[in-house]
């Protein structure tokens, strides 16, 4: 493996990881409460990182296009919830089902592993028939499976176990961010080890060419099943952590939209890059739940703020316009139409900005509830269309710190 030979990169990466863990561990103890938002995002970001990595193992490394991640998370979340609610609290949680049938509570680590195992067991069962399917068919079959699981868990007849449509809650949760980091760190480390083992190489060979892999003596069915079960195992643990994060579980959130969200994270990070998935998770969660929230508020500007707003917007879009025009007039310019459209949009926004400045409006137009998600999905589309290799492509963090040999000449496939 290249990145193992490359000691410098590995060392720097290890140092960064240790530094992040230390920072989180210490900052959490001493930081003022105003930092709590950061920790909230870090918690959810780390959970999504684990799930994204588990999905990447399947989609990116083994080349199996599965869309069942939300279903496996649901299994993990429910397993954790069902088996850890203290017996004393069961009567109030299972209020419509006389306290439910499970009347004991497992310790947290055991329940976490059980969550993974249950998800993996279901993955095994569903994998037997569906893993024979090819790409898109596999995707749609696993998506369908996730929907079936959701319906089953909400079924009233199973209420004494799953609490039907009602929430599970009052189970023990991790309070500190570092606990999430440690669990996720261990899981991701295990996945990394796996990917760098002979199994990992077998997975990658399946992705590259199934027939060739089989010819080399790799048992396709067994390896595909293994990747599917391992991915589901970690998705299950991720689901359990997500249950902790929101202190309650309800089957209705594990929709296909959640799987799509994770798939987008994997794409943003780079299909086939573990560190890319991890970074993209934090960025994604921070953007969608924190940094972009201001777009949802109607904003009325003061005179000073108005000037600043216009100045910042003008600078951004003049730069963007310049970039587009530069690309457009290059002698060997590719995809002129695209940059032309981009330049047009930037120009239009600038013209609007001039009008905005001239007429003396104080309410920022467009900003109101829902605008955040529109901007967010536009950003995602831009990444998908223009940076289809994501943040990291298929390289890992250590590769970034490798000594530069020669700048590669090849243009990114657009």
């Amino acid at each position: 493996m290249k990145n193992l030979e490359n000691k410098r990169g590995t060392l720097i990466t290890a140092a960064i990881i240790v530094a992040v863990f230390l920072f989180v561990g210490i900052a959490e103890k001493i930081a003022p409460p105003s930092w709590n938002m950061l920790f909230m995002v870090l918690k959810k970001g780390s959970i999504y990182a684990l799930i994204a990595v588990s999905m990447n193992l399947l989609n990116g490394f083994t080349g199996l296009f599965s869309l069942g991640q939300a279903g496996f998370m649901l299994l993990g979340a429910y397993t954790y919830g069902i088996f850890t609610i203290p017996a004393a609290d069961r009567a109030s949680v299972y209020q419509y089902f006389d306290g439910g049938v499970v009347q004991f509570a497992l310790p947290v680590p055991v329940a976490l592993i059980l969550a993974g195992l249950v998800a993996a067991a279901f993955a095994f069962l569903i994998g037997l028939p569906v893993l024979r399917l090819k790409s898109d068919y596999l995707a749609i079959a696993t998506l369908g499976f996730a929907e079936i699981i959701r319906a089953v868990f909400q079924w009233n007849v199973l209420g004494p176990i799953t609490n039907g449509s009602n929430l599970l809650r009052k189970f023990p949760v991790f309070q500190s961010t570092i606990s999430y980091f440690v669990v996720v760190g261990i899981c991701v480390a295990v996945i990394l080890l796996l990917i760098n083992s002979s199994y990992g190489r077998a997975f990658k060979s399946i992705r590259e060419d199934e027939i060739a892999a089989e010819a080399m003596g790799i048992n396709l069915a067994r390896h595909k099943m293994l990747a599917f079960c391992i991915s589901s195992f970690f998705a299950g643990i991720g689901g359990a952590l997500l249950a902790m994060y929101q202190t309650s579980v309800q089957a209705s959130i594990f929709k296909s939209a959640m799987t799509y969200e994770i798939l987008l994270i994997v794409v943003i990070g780079g299909i086939g890059s573990i560190s890319g998935s991890v970074m993209a998770s934090f960025l994604y969660i921070a953007c969608s739940e924190w940094w972009l929230r201001f777009l949802d508020q109607e904003t009325i500007l003061t005179a000073a703020g108005r000037g600043r707003f216009i100045a910042v917007m003008a600078v951004i879009f003049v730069i963007l316009l310049a970039l587009m025009v530069f690309r457009l007039v290059r002698p060997k310019a590719k995809s002129r139409v695209r940059y032309g459209v981009g330049a047009g949009i930037c120009g239009a926004i600038l013209i609007w900005l001039i009008v905005f400045a001239a007429t003396g409006q104080t309410r920022v137009p467009l900003l109101r509830n829902g605008f955040r998600m529109v901007v967010f999905s536009v950003i995602i589309m831009i990444i998908v269309l223009f940076f289809s290799r994501g943040i990291m492509g298929t390289s890992e963090l250590p590769d970034l710190f490798r000594k530069r040999v020669k700048p590669e000449k090849e243009e990114v496939a657009s």
């Binding site: 028939p129 749609i140 079959a141 369908g144 079936i148 319906a151 009233n156 529109v374 269309l385 289809s388």
Partner: protein, 304 residues
Amino acid sequence: MSVVLPYLLSGISVGGQYALIAIGYTMVYGILRLINFAHGDVFMVAGVMMVYLSASLPLYVSMPLMLILTVIIGFAIERAAYKPLRSAPRMSIMISAIGVSYLLQNLAAYITGGLAQQYPTVPGISASVNIGPATTKVVTLVTPFLVIALVFALVMLINHTKIGMAMRAVSKDYDTAQLMGIRINAVISATFVIGSFLAAVGSVLYFTNYTAVTYTSGAMPGLKAFVAAVFGGIGSIPGAVIGAFIIGISENIVKGLEAMLGMAGINLNIGLATFSDAVTFALLIIILVVKPTGLFGEKATEKV
């Protein structure tokens, strides 16, 4: 029979509406090998546009305008989001489709404010009518006939026109078709135009029956229509239509199963209706495992 009739009627009606969406899926898949996840949302957008257009324009203006706009949107989506990725791996283009679906939904949520919009009444098909013991809307009865007429026209188009021949050629062999001088982009655009048009027609029928239009109302019908397309054998238009009717009928039978059993003297009361969606997906998995190419699918020529 009189017990089952109302469920059959609902099933046929909703099946017909799925069929119109499913054709779009199956044609695009036949040609591009792409699950166009945004197709269900194009259907929803058609509904939302109709709500806004009919608020200020008379129906005979707003309806054609809506159809034209939906076609333009479908065309634009293909040009902006799929065409640049033509040579990219198949997963990228599928992800692009998911991204477009996400964008359309969020845009609709933003414009409607996330509130359910009441679909306008379409004269003629919104009225109620009695058939034996069942009462239903006229649209329920009109749907299957309209679907059959549209499918007939479509099949004629595909079998007897030049563009239809080009479509068949592209779906048989993409690369060779290109080498034979077929303007592949025009063919693909035509596919999207037809698909979006049918989705727009489907939205009129669907929302006349189920009048609350929300930004998520395209997701489930879209998914089910896709399942129908796979069920019937993806790439096959008659297959998609038959698959859609089967899905529509079976989901309504599941909804009514307990009531029907109840009348037969078997009282279950376990909430079987819970599985009306799940049964669709169960059917899908079963057919995929038993006959991966669907009911009417051609033998798969999976390209490596």
